[in-house]
Subunit: 314 residues, 2 copies
Amino acid sequence: MATLVSPSNYSPVEDAQTLRTAFKGWGSDDKTIIAILGHRNVHQRQEIRKAYEEIYEEDLIKRLESEISGDFEKAVYRWMLEPADRDAVLVNVAIKNGSKDLHVIAEIACVLSAEELLAVRRAYHNRYKHSLEEDVAANTTGHLRQLLVGLVSTYRYEGVEINAKLAQTEASILHETLKEKKGNYEEVIRVLATRSKTQLVATFNRYRDEHGISISKKLLDQASDDFHKVLHTAIRCINDPKKYYEKVLRNAIKKFGTDEDGLSRVVVTRAETDLKDIKELYYKRNSVHLEDDVAKETSGDYKKFILTLLGKQD
Amino acid sequence: MATLVSPSNYSPVEDAQTLRTAFKGWGSDDKTIIAILGHRNVHQRQEIRKAYEEIYEEDLIKRLESEISGDFEKAVYRWMLEPADRDAVLVNVAIKNGSKDLHVIAEIACVLSAEELLAVRRAYHNRYKHSLEEDVAANTTGHLRQLLVGLVSTYRYEGVEINAKLAQTEASILHETLKEKKGNYEEVIRVLATRSKTQLVATFNRYRDEHGISISKKLLDQASDDFHKVLHTAIRCINDPKKYYEKVLRNAIKKFGTDEDGLSRVVVTRAETDLKDIKELYYKRNSVHLEDDVAKETSGDYKKFILTLLGKQD
């Protein structure tokens, strides 16, 4: 379930006008910006953007960028984009950041449904005049490239069928490869990048049954290079995306200095889908409410905005 | 331009009834089947199929399969499917046939637009309960797998931008690999499977300018194994699909015994799009009309049906 609280009655024109007033004068009225945009769903935000453009002949997103700054700006900017377009931006940034961010590419490729991933690929064309797989491929090499290109290019079957025998065979393939640490990567890539998620979860379960340890835990011991890190993320995101996101939040918050990029990414991308479930997992795992941890570790308008998206009532 | 001649006025119900009558008795009235189905466009054929199903509670395609046989049946069957579904069937058959037919996978992947290829992948899900790339990957290995999976999974950018410097760099990559014959296949696969067709044509042109020979001719000397054959097909289909199809037809007809599969595939898949252009290329290249060659090398209902799709007036 979502955390976003948005009204069923709202007026895009009034919102656009209120925002315009908030931009007036020296420094913007950030409280108003948060009160409006932090309480509008994706459709409403697009309507407001359209109304603003029509009335003031100015792109609302561009104006926001010039009015606010830092992590607050970054989070608002991403929040204002349509989901597929936002993911295209996130992937593009991850490609540019290279090594440290490649797991974000795997995250987006593996969490989304086949049609959602495709929408991101379409948005990527529009925005960057390249294909997503083209930019991923041009910036990576070897098995890492093969894995990432496979993950972003796949159009997974989404039926519920499970082939138990196949799960067993492919659990063994994963086991053999991880055991040797430089085993048959090509087969591992084939399995991860082409099988349906339902089938893959059956394979991961089979792995755990046979070896008494989950494949992601096993991989964690070895996740030293980029290839293994991306593999680890892909497996976690296919196996249990909410649990994965909980951990991203936990790491982002516990990190010395806080990882605002990670925090914003999860909150902004999940606020309208399953952030409530992720919050519950967070509480269960950490015995602290996510809002309280966020409140402690962040500050200013950024803090207010993230807490608003987390569903905190004013 | 298309070769198919279809009326603007037709009645799906009447067509369904006429077909039903043609099925009556011992042996079907194939002349009527051809007269109707050989003169209906893709939309009309689907309407007839629907009308037939509604009136007789029977699938027209299944009935056709039981009424006719051999190459005629195969061609009519493929003709009756929607294009994306037909291509899904063609790819599936090619996967099953393995080595001798892998070029068909490359043909379909490289001739279609990004959205058309995607429609084939959707149709493949529906029909086979697997993803297309999954079945391709499970039935191939090594570089051949990487190339084929890359080609079927790509969602190419379709803008007109050309990066001349990139064309030069990547023409060199292609050259180096082909020179060594067991060179840097990974880079060749990356280029072929991710760049836009416009960019690739620029790269191929650059190759010819630099080396005085087209890359597909150069490859022909080396197209001994499956990998090189698939690479050759991919390059030809990206570079000039009509020219490619002309050659498929030429080879199919000149072959001892005639390759009806190849002939039917090109005629059935292109009759509603560019078969007229392909016919003209055929005449230009062979100084014989395609219809005359087809008439000489085929027979019976199959011959009548193919000639009808080729636009021959009764």
